[in-house]
């Protein structure tokens, strides 16, 4: 490595002996086979990175996952809401039909059986309502 774009390690505060020592200590390997070997090792490790079937999931970024989760949650809420409304409508219809059926089945009874006619009321003693309200006083 021979790059001398600065003061070349010989500035006013640099010690040439220390600089030479450092250069000797940090000198890169000169042997070409070393570099070929390093290149080969890097290539080998990169080839090991072949995509596996699950690697596609790795391409999802956090933001994508968050966006997908938000969409799924919104869809879920919409479906749940729609199901609830639909069920409430069905329940209301069933209740209304049951009430209507009950009312319609009760209509054939004669009206006087269910209410006191003015003739029956006339036969009761005058204090009948008081007796019913305060039975212990009588």
């Amino acid at each position: 490595m021979n790059v001398t774009r600065n003061d070349n390690g010989h500035g006013p505060d640099a010690d040439p002996i220390v600089t030479d020592l450092l250069r000797s200590h940090y000198a890169a390997p000169q042997d070409e086979t070393y570099w070929n070997g390093l290149e080969e090792r890097v290539r080998f490790r990169i080839n090991e990175l072949r995509p596996a079937w699950w690697s596609g999931f790795g391409e999802f970024r956090t933001a994508d996952i968050r966006k997908l989760g938000l969409i799924a949650a919104t869809m879920g809420l919409l479906v749940a809401g729609a199901t609830y409304v639909r069920k409430a409508e069905v329940d209301a219809t069933t209740r209304e039909m049951a009430q209507r059926a009950a009312v319609e089945s009760a209509l054939p009874l004669p009206l006087e059986d269910a209410t006191l006619s003015s003739r029956a009321r006339a036969r009761l003693p005058e204090d009948a309502p008081e007796r019913y309200l305060h039975p212990l006083d009588y």
Binding site: M1, N2, V3, T4, R5, N6, N8, G9, G11, D13, A14, D15, I17, V18, T19, L21, L22, R23, S24, H25, Y26, A28, P29, Q30, D31, W35, L38, E39, R41, V42, R43, R45, I46, N47, L49
Partner: protein, 201 residues
């Protein structure tokens, strides 16, 4: 290698400047584009071009040759994975060296924790010419070990690799002024630690 049909002008300007780009830079740009298109051989071409410089950057940060090599490999792997995010109009070398520097800083931090109790002599493992590994070398290794990680990287990048302060700042993610001041302190520290070398030589 997959050839990519590109019709570059004879020289295109670097982003934001009118400076023409050399044929070598054009070739590198082609390699980058091919690698981005999934061509592993093109990426190997980039490894071939940049591995020595990448090693020098890594070696300035970590304490041993083995760690520097690990940092280079890690750096290239990170770069390969992040290649699609690289914009071809940038300087590939600067981008790669920043990645390698980060990988080296990671390794240096892990090593610092692991080797906290070890003697400094064990940190330097010369890979070449064992005959040179004498007392002088051991003392330099000890002196370098007593330097802070950042100051050590700055002095090596500057005095050994020839980087300018601004480039060092960009590589290590520190302001240019900090790089300048780190260099001054590192030089003073090593001069003090090895002060008797002159009298011995």
């Amino acid at each position: 290698m997959t050839s990519v049909a590109l019709s570059f002008p004879a020289a295109f300007p670097v982003m934001g400047t009118d400076r023409p780009v050399s044929a070598e830079a054009l070739e590198e740009r082609e390699l980058v584009l091919s690698a981005q298109a999934g061509d592993h051989t093109a990426f190997a071409g980039l490894v071939h071009r940049h591995q020595r410089r990448a090693y020098a950057v890594a070696r300035s940060i970590v304490l041993s040759h083995d760690d520097a090599e690990d940092a280079v490999q890690e750096g290239f792997l990170h770069a390969f994975r992040a290649l699609e995010r690289f914009r071809p109009e940038q300087a590939f070398g600067a981008w790669l060296h920043r990645i390698v520097a980060n990988a080296a800083l990671d390794i240096a931090r892990r090593r610092k924790v692991r080797d906290a109790d070890e003697l400094p002599e064990t940190l330097s493992s010369p890979h070449r010419d064992p005959a040179e590994a004498g007392e002088l070398r051991a003392r330099l290794a000890r002196a370098l070990h007593t330097l802070g990680e950042r100051q050590r990287a700055v002095i090596v990048l500057h005095d050994v690799e020839g980087y300018k302060h601004a480039e060092i700042g960009s590589l290590l993610g520190i302001p240019e002024g900090t790089a300048r001041s780190d260099l001054h302190h590192a030089r003073a520290h090593l001069r003090r630690q090895l002060s008797n070398l002159r009298s011995e030589k």
